[in-house]
């Protein structure tokens, strides 16, 4: 009886066990048939370790192929914590070599992870020292580091990249997609300790190297602009300043500089604000530099002609307000061109009122004052202008001479370019072309005139008026002997937080050259100069200094008389090359010119302006002299290379039959043997180049 019960219960246990086996069987069917593929893939995915292969970030070149930013390979150290045999010792050694804290290293070496960065982008020497320690679980990988070889040159425009080679600002950001390339990867199947498995699965996807940018910027012009800007900011103890040089025919930016600045190689040492591209992000009251736009609207609509006359008695009543000119006694009766030369506010108020609100706003739109220019840099803003439906006659009157409205510097230079190029809008741009890693051009950016906004006639009349500003008017200090320049001064009250800042001024000069065939448009603004603050006093000399060197660099031939100058005031520069310095001085004095000797020799070897140029009386002619020794047969005098770029220096030496041994980059600062030394043909001249922006 009891044995029967026991048997029954054993049978029940067996049934229960069998049921459990059926469940487990079903579970195994599910895992190994239904779920198998997913689990298998996930498992393989887990075992596959991706080793990313970073593409090389593209190079940024200036228009002549000079490198402005490139990437070099540097080493980064990492740890695979599971493979670190002795974390304490490893941390102690790394702490010693890298100068990092022992605790933070210990934390990384003992973390439950398969990969930890120790330190990225370290010098080769440091990497070598760590490698010699032969530490287990510590590895190295090549990473690329961005280098800006010219330091702060063009810094804001070039921008910066982050530790992971992401472009963060400037062109590095704007063209990040092209510059960066596409990451490749090497994949390998590893065990849980990170070692490659026997017969492991492997995969390789090659990286696509980054594309290169060829800019419209000319390194030499950029250098000249920055040098002169630095000098001006220093001279006038200004808060800062900016300058833009552009080809008015195409919209190609040749140089763009702003102060204060920074060095992208160590950008964390400078205030963040120094990195802003204020030439495109910030708007400023343009002051009188806006007047050419008012004038263009007036001439183009026919509401004013160049033959009209304007009377300035020192003030004018607009509605209930009385607006004053900057000359209290007034400019008297003036022609249209004289209004421009005198920068007469009363005259421009009359011109503006004649244009009327409707047409004034139409031309603001046409000149691009109400929209962004479309420049290929990040963060562009458009100006601040009283909305048309709120505009009253008093607003129109004040805007006519450039107050209350605000424009970005790039808007301003784009609008002046329309006058320079015969009436067309242009889109300012800094990238000329994109090339691939092999140097093949993959994209050429659009450039050139876009559409006509004023007639050829109006443009010509304005060019003449602006040329007279330099030859006779407020812009005299911008005059470059031998060249025809056109331009406009400007002085405006600084606007801080939407309010006029008393006693703080912006000194402007905007113009182009040569006036009859503009090759370059240039805008200069000095922010808060101490002491003198008029554009004609502060900005015009900067314009003059830049134009002088740039025109020479661009090999623009000197021209005859500037338009509007009194022919009696002009003299022809005599040919002085080959003559003694003393006799050259006498020669110059005869024609009321001043000679200035430069160089150690006694005989003139070059001169500037060159012979035949027509210049104003009193102009300084620079007489270059070299060591006064005559080279013998098979010998040659070493030319002076100081201030030249690498290419220029090489060409110069080649002409002379000498060989260049260059050191560094930038502009020649030192040479051995010195200029004037007589050496045998084929001698090597050592030249040290340095990118010392400023002094």
């Amino acid at each position: 009886m009891g044995a029967v019960l026991a048997r029954k219960r054993v049978a029940r246990v067996l049934t229960g066990v069998a049921f459990a086996f059926v469940l487990l069987f079903a579970r195994l069917v599910y895992i190994q048939f239904v779920w198998s593929d997913t689990l298998g893939e996930e498992a393989l995915d887990m075992r596959m370790q991706d080793i990313p292969i970073q593409p090389r970030r593209g190079v940024i070149y200036d228009r002549n192929g000079h490198e402005l930013a490139f990437s070099i390979d540097v080493e980064s150290v990492y740890a695979i914590p599971a493979q670190v045999k002795d974390p304490e010792k490893t941390a102690a050694i790394l702490s010693e070599i890298l100068g990092m804290s022992y605790d933070s290293l210990m934390a990384r070496l003992t973390r439950h992870s398969s990969f930890e960065w120790i330190k990225r982008k370290i010098p080769d020497e440091v990497a070598r020292r760590i490698r010699e320690e032969k530490l287990s679980g510590i590895g190295f990988t090549q990473e690329s580091m961005r280098v800006w070889p010219k330091g702060s040159l063009l810094a804001q425009v070039l921008g910066i990249v982050g530790i992971d080679n992401d472009g963060l600002e400037g062109l590095e950001y704007q063209y990040d997609r092209q510059l960066k390339g596409v990451q490749g990867q090497f994949t390998v199947e590893v065990d849980a300790l990170g070692e490659e498995l026997p017969q492991s699965q492997k995969g390789y996807i090659p990286p696509i190297q980054g594309k290169n940018l060829i800019l419209t910027i000319d390194e030499v012009i950029q250098f000249i602009v920055e040098r002169e800007l630095d000098a001006a900011v220093e001279r006038s103890q200004a808060e800062g300043g900016l300058a833009i040089a552009m080809d008015p025919q195409t919209g190609e930016i040749l140089a763009m500089a702003m102060r204060p600045t920074y060095d992208p190689n160590q950008y964390d040492r400078y205030p963040d604000a120094n990195r802003r591209i204020i030439t495109i992000t910030d708007s400023y009251p343009p002051g009188s530099t806006f007047k050419p736009i008012t004038a263009a609207a007036a001439l183009e609509t026919g509401k004013v002609t160049v033959n009209d006359t304007f009377f300035c008695g020192g003030s004018i009543r607009v509605g209930s307000e009385v607006l004053r000119c900057h000359v209290p006694e007034g400019h008297g009766m003036q022609t249209f061109n004289e209004v421009m030369q005198n920068s007469c506010n009363v005259g421009f108020i009359e011109i503006g009122l004649r244009v009327g609100i409707e047409d004034f706003y139409k031309y603001l739109d046409l000149f691009g004052a109400t929209t962004v220019t479309g420049i290929d840099l990040p963060g562009e803003s458009s100006g601040i202008i009283v909305p048309k439906d709120l505009c009253k006659p008093i607003d129109l009157a004040v805007m006519s001479f450039g107050q209350t409205l605000q424009l970005t510097p790039v808007q301003l230079i784009a609008s002046i370019s329309a006058i320079a190029n015969g009436g067309y809008t242009v889109v300012p741009h800094v990238v000329k072309a994109v090339t691939d890693a092999d140097g093949n051009t993959v994209e050429v950016k659009q450039t050139g005139k876009v559409h006509r906004i004023i007639s050829e006639m109006t443009a010509k009349e304005l060019r003449t008026a602006l040329e007279e500003v330099v030859s006779k008017g407020t812009g005299k200090q911008a005059y470059v002997p031998g060249y025809r320049l056109a331009g406009k001064t400007g002085t405006s009250n600084k606007v801080v937080d939407g309010r006029l800042a008393e006693g703080k001024y912006l000194a402007w000069f905007i113009g182009f050259a040569p006036a009859n065939d503009p090759k370059i448009a240039l805008l200069v603004m000095i922010d808060e100069p101490k002491g003198a603050y008029y554009g004609g006093q502060i900005a015009a000399p900067v314009f003059q200094a830049i134009m002088r060197d740039v025109l020479r660099y661009l090999e623009v031939p000197p021209q005859e008389e500037p338009a509007g100058t009194d022919p009696a005031e002009l003299v022809v520069v005599p040919d002085l090359v080959g003559s003694e310095v003393t006799s050259a001085q006498v020669e110059l004095r005869k024609v009321e010119l001043v000679g200035m000797k430069e160089g150690p020799g006694m005989r003139v070897t070059r001169q500037f302006p060159v012979a035949g140029a027509k210049v104003l009386k009193g102009t300084t002619v620079i007489l270059y002299t070299e060591e006064d020794v005559t080279p013998g047969e098979g010998e040659v005098a070493v030319p002076s290379l100081i201030g030249m770029g690498l290419t220029q220096a090489r060409e110069r030496l080649m002409e002379a039959g000498l060989v260049l041994s260059a050191q560094g980059s930038g502009f020649a600062v030192n040479q051995d043997p010195p200029a004037g030394t007589i050496v045998p043909l084929g001698t090597t001249v050592k030249v040290i180049f340095r990118m010392d922006v400023g002094q």
Partner: protein, 373 residues
């Protein structure tokens, strides 16, 4: 007594060869898998792949000798020594807890012995406990109807045994002992509602046991959703599922498992079934499952045909001991049960556990020779 013995002698037949061959097949698969699964670690720690294979072969030889001996040496001949054997088992459980005597591995004090020759008293207790219960309950059958006087002492004894094992700690073995004991108590004819009562009373204890210990709580919760913490508590289950899934229907081939390369924890012991599933696929896992089903069938069949209550209870308990361990181990590896730390009998690498399992089978085989036909 003498006559009973001689009459049994006369009826002695051949052992259950089906059970015998099922166990030997499991052992053969086990040796193969132990070699494959331990190779990686053996090379890492000992420089050659055979270290764990050799120790496993030594223990298997020992275990098989014990099985063959017990198959011939009738269980009734040492029945009167059972209280003494049980006592020794309990004493060993106490001794192993003494620091300095019991050896510690992986934070658990479970081992006694010297050098290579170590064993777990908890493994010994598995068999001694079932021997005691089967013997005592068969003799005190008429008193089992009383909850306090009948069942009470056994519950106290079980509580003591399992408590000592838990102190090592060794949850897996405690569970195995309790499971085998429960089957003996059930088969011995304890009233249904008494079983339910004890069962209901032990639920709070079980909950407490799980949630009082941080790592057990994590393991339990990880079993419910391993992907909630794939790098931590869920890691083991996920790696096991990866291995089984990678194996699919036919496996990657013996020796070619990927997951045993330090992804699977304990690939040669608690998680050997995952390596087997990866290398031999569903073919291998279902074969092992079928072999354990054969063990269950022949073991319980032996219990049902046993000549007396003592041997019936004992065969049922010992069969359950093996089969329950298999069910729990495979349940854990397939993510169907929370992790308990129970090895797979005859397959997992292990010393005293393997010998004890062979001893259990040896006793069952001995009983099978006296089956009522």
């Amino acid at each position: 007594m003498r006559t009973a013995r001689s009459s049994r002698r006369a009826r002695r037949g051949s052992p259950d060869y089906i059970l015998f061959f099922a166990v030997m097949t499991l052992m053969a698969i086990g040796i193969t898998m132990v070699f494959s699964a331990s190779m990686v670690r053996s090379i890492k720690f000992y420089g050659h792949p055979y270290y764990y294979l050799i120790t496993q072969l030594v223990w298997a030889g020992l275990g098989m000798s014990a099985m063959l001996f017990l198959m011939h040496y009738d269980v009734w001949r040492y029945r009167r020594w059972i209280p003494l054997i049980t006592g020794i088992g309990l004493v060993l459980l106490v001794i192993v807890l003494i620091p300095g005597i019991g050896q510690v591995r992986n934070d658990a004090r479970r081992w006694l012995g010297f050098g290579q020759l170590v064993f777990q008293p908890a493994e010994v207790a598995k068999v001694t406990t079932l021997l005691f219960l089967a013997d005592s309950m068969a003799r005190r059958r008429d008193k089992l109807g009383d909850l306090i006087k009948g069942l009470g002492p056994y519950l106290v004894f079980l509580g003591l045994t399992c408590g000592l094992v838990l102190m090592e700690p060794d949850l897996g073995t405690a569970v195995a002992i309790a499971g085998g004991a429960a089957v003996v108590i059930f088969v011995a004819g304890v009233k249904w509602y008494h079983i339910l009562l004890v069962g209901a009373a032990s639920v709070p204890a079980l909950v407490w046991a799980i949630f009082s210990e941080e790592y057990r709580r994590k393991r339990f919760l990880a079993f419910l959703d391993p992907w909630a913490d794939p790098e931590g508590a869920g890691w083991q289950i996920i790696q096991a599922l990866y291995a089984l899934g990678t194996g699919g229907p036919f496996g990657t081939g013996i020796g070619d498992a990927r997951q045993k390369w330090f992804y699977l924890p304990e690939p040669d012991t608690d998680f050997i079934f995952a390596v087997l599933g990866e290398e031999m696929g569903f073919f291998g896992t279902s074969l092992v499952l079928a072999l354990f089903m054969v063990v269950a069938w022949r073991g319980f069949r032996t219990a049902m045909a046993a000549p007396d209550r003592f041997s019936c209870y004992l065969a049922a308990g010992l069969t359950s001991l093996i089969v329950l361990q298999a069910i729990i181990n495979i349940g854990v590896v397939t993510g169907s049960l929370p992790i308990t730390g129970i090895p797979l009998p005859f397959i997992s690498r292990g010393g005293s556990a393997l010998v004890i399992n062979f001893i259990a089978v040896g006793i069952i085989l001995n009983i099978s020779r006296y089956a009522n036909r």
